[in-house]
């Protein structure tokens, strides 16, 4: 049975595509965005997260595993030694320990997603997200097919940085692609995500040619990717596409600090304010002036 590692199943997801949805977040990503909102989803392997604000330093976890130590009222954790077996998560009375990257089979995932099927009725459905779900294209294909057989709308939330073959596999079973667009300039893209955008832009063109419904998602962060130049370049690139139903502008928030800390990754979140609704409105105007239609401000 095909399986994949996942980090979470989000029910009543109302911002991952139309209507009420359930979103499955798979683990592993091919980009390393500095503003990553889900740092726990980037590495393919399982990781233990410690939600420090919840930890009371009671020491229960230290009793079951030497990786945890409470020294002078501080919770010290030896991540190098941790095998991410998840045992300690059972012992924590305050729910401060969480294992990201448990495996799930297609059947298990399908069963979970179907639990909320009655809510998908009015235009909702399921969304596969991540990380980058298409790194698990086999799993996604099987799962989306099952959903399609059940008459459920399936969306894929992708950063686009995967071989085209991955898209090809899921294409017949996907109703909507939520496609991240970080910035048009390749160099800048490399700086912001650790990777150029050639493949991403190429895939987007190919996807557009398949006539699949695409919604572009642009997360805008001040001083990073929302200068007028950035927006104009993006607008010019996106204007000619035929099957983009909407370009949704999302506002960057530096709210993931605690998550970086929880999984022990170096915190790369840029220290810039979150754009407000008017700022996004102005960005939307610039995009429209380049001939892009249907720009949606997610803050309105």
């Amino acid at each position: 049975m095909t399986e994949a590692r996942y980090i979470d199943i989000k029910r009543f997801a109302v911002h991952d595509g139309p209507g009420i949805r359930t979103t499955l977040f798979l683990k592993g990503c091919s980009l390393r965005c500095i503003w990553c909102h889900n740092p726990e989803s980037r590495f393919p392997q399982p990781e233990l997260a410690i939600h420090y604000p919840k930890c009371t330093c009671c020491g229960e976890c230290a009793k079951v595993c030497f990786c945890h130590k409470i020294i002078n009222g501080v919770h010290e954790f030896d991540r190098q030694a941790c095998k991410a077996c998840g045992q300690c998560t059972q012992t924590c009375p305050s729910g401060a320990l969480e294992l990201f990257g448990r495996t799930i089979t297609v059947n298990e995932a399908a069963a979970k997603l179907l639990e909320d099927r009655i809510f998908y009725g009015n235009g909702g459905g399921i969304t596969l997200s991540g990380g980058e779900p298409l790194l698990h294209s086999g799993f996604c294909t099987e799962l989306l097919k099952k959903m399609q057989d059940e008459g459920i709308h399936g969306a894929v939330d992708t950063c686009g940085n995967v071989p085209w073959s991955a898209f090809e596999r899921v294409l017949p079973y996907t109703d909507l692609f939520l496609y991240d667009f970080k910035c048009a300039d390749a160099e800048k893209h490399r700086r912001l995500t650790g990777c150029g955008n050639e493949l991403i832009l190429e895939n987007l063109k190919k996807l557009d040619a398949t006539r699949k419904n695409i919604e572009i998602r642009m997360m805008l962060a001040p001083e990073q990717n929302m200068a007028p130049d950035d927006l104009q370049a993006a607008g010019k690139f996106l204007a000619p596409f035929k099957n983009i139903s909407a370009i949704r502008l999302l506002a960057y928030h530096s709210l993931a600090h605690s998550k970086f800390r929880a999984v022990g990754h170096p915190d790369t979140l840029p220290d810039v304010p979150s754009p407000d609704a008017e700022t996004l409105d102005r960005a939307a105007e610039i995009l429209r002036s380049c001939g892009v239609k249907k720009v949606v401000n997610s803050l309105n």
């Binding site: 109302v14 639990e115 909320d116 009655i118 993931a256 600090h257």
Partner: protein, 684 residues
Amino acid sequence: MKNYAKFDELRPKLEKQYENAVYSTEDCRTEDQLRQAWETHKKENPDEERILSRAFLIALILRHAPVVAEPFNPFPGKFQTFGLLQEDLKAGYKLAAEKVPGVICNGIDMDLGFNWMVDRSHVAPDWKNLLTLGLPGLIKRAAKGTSPFHKAVLVVYEALAEFCRRIAVINHNPVYEEIAAHAPKTLHEAFALAYILHDAIEFSGEEVRTMGRFDSLYIDFYRADLAAGRLTRESAKELLKFFWTAFYARYQGKRFGKNFCFGPDINELSYLGMETYYEMNTVDPKLSVLVREDMPQDFAELYARCIRDDRTAIVSLNYDVVVAGLIRHGRTPEDAATFVPIGCYEPAVAGKEISCSGSTHIYLPIPLLSVINSGKDYATFEDFKTGYLEQIRKISTLMQEKQTLCDLAWKYVNPVPLLSGTFDSCMEKARDISDAGALYNTTGCVCSYLADAVDSLEAVRFLVYEQKLCTLPELRQILKDNWEGHEKLRTAVLRNHAKWGNNDTQVDALAVEIASFVSQLLFNLPNGRGGSFFPSLYGQLVVERGKMIGALPSGRLAGEPMSKNMDAVIGMDRNGITGLMNSVLKVDMRQFPCGTCLDIMLHPSAVRGDDGVQILVSLIRTFIAHGGSGIQFNIFDAAVLRDAQIHPEKYENLQVRVCGWNVRFTDLDSAAQETFIRQAEAIA
């Protein structure tokens, strides 16, 4: 319509009209004179039937008490009662104690877990009759009878007509002259008549809990006014604002709120009313919307938008499910179809049923404690559960005994001819509402705190029978200790993910079993008014009652609030609202003809924008389409988030939208939480 100043300008004044009321001194008697008249009457008629003496007093006040009838107010008519009606109500209770030996008119037994009372707060007149017959019609009808009841009705309605004429003079308002003289013809007259009767009934000691189906009751008046050029759509909205504010003014939004019902047939007035409600942004009146699958999408969006934008005093009820439940419990299909909620969520056949829906309560977790405290041993969980259900049966019998006496006492406590005179059945039977005059004389039994009961039952299974972490006697001690010294065990229970409200097969089956059991138990259980008990499934007064309830096996500490309505215990619906709704939908709501309700809490970001309105509509429609009944919403605000910062353990299910994703509020660090709080404050 007479010309009034703009509603917006008058609103502050109207809202404070009771505080600043200046009563007229002309055309009325002083307190002393009124008291004297009342004393003389009692002396001269020592053996008068209760209903006649009550009618005399009401009439005396309507005819001669000082009134306020400010000319700026299209719905004037406050009157001064000098506490006379209240005093006489006390006398009524005294009389009841003499006439019905052993009666306790308002009792509670928190050891066994139930209460009972003479419920004077769940009635409504037959609005349709009132508006069609008008006061003269009602008077004519009463004059045909010869019974003391008919006489009482005649006395109060003639006095009410006189009261209208008094206002007409002081207020220089022909509307009041008109409604004294004939059935209402215009929207203003119809509103004025409904308001006058409502107020008079309330002053006579019964709480009118619904103003009926707003859109269908008033549509003909509205259409006629439009056709005749008496009103425009805008001036009708203005009139409605005045009308609704009259209700607000009475309690300033500090009581139950006056219910106006919308649907299930949606017409122009439904839209007008809902728009007006949005514009007013008030806590009182409150609305209930009877939802059927064919509800037009634009109307669904209109009222969902109210809810989304903080006008959350709206409950949606599933029309088809309620009707089916009423039919199952002996109402004819034609009668069931006309129901209105005669309380927060409690359906009753309009103009034919008095539900007394708040008469009795069974506090479901308490019998569980009784079983644990009994010292009896139960070999298996099944045995234990049976013991629990049997204990519920036991208290239901006691409850029936106590309540039956209350049912018999009502007619001595407070006959209500002002109300009964609108009921066809009362006029035919020559009996007051309080004396089983309605066609359907129901006694409500509110089965409360389901989640606490279910989670506790499940905890007993977990602790005593499955994991064997403690024995029943040990559990008894633990609860006596209020879990002190047993923190680890408590954590184990709290962390045990089997809780009501998470779409968990095993736990939900327990809930379904308890619900079916109590519903069966009460099915056709006779009350003291020739009707029967009707169960409902919701829980209120969660803080007040919580203070009276000891520690529970669920891990709840003594004194903590109880679970609300059909909700999970606070913080225990860890799978979010879809998990909660999936659990709740397993209960057959038709088993609860006296109502059910689920409360959903949402973060404003989940319902932002036009998409957010659609999300709300989807939630409501999904719930309704799958057999749910009452559902209402809370959109969290900053104050709640602030509390969540201090008590994160209570808000584990609160999710927030960060950007293109959601996180649990409690997983954010405090700086991030602060950001959200500021955002929430900005929305407010």
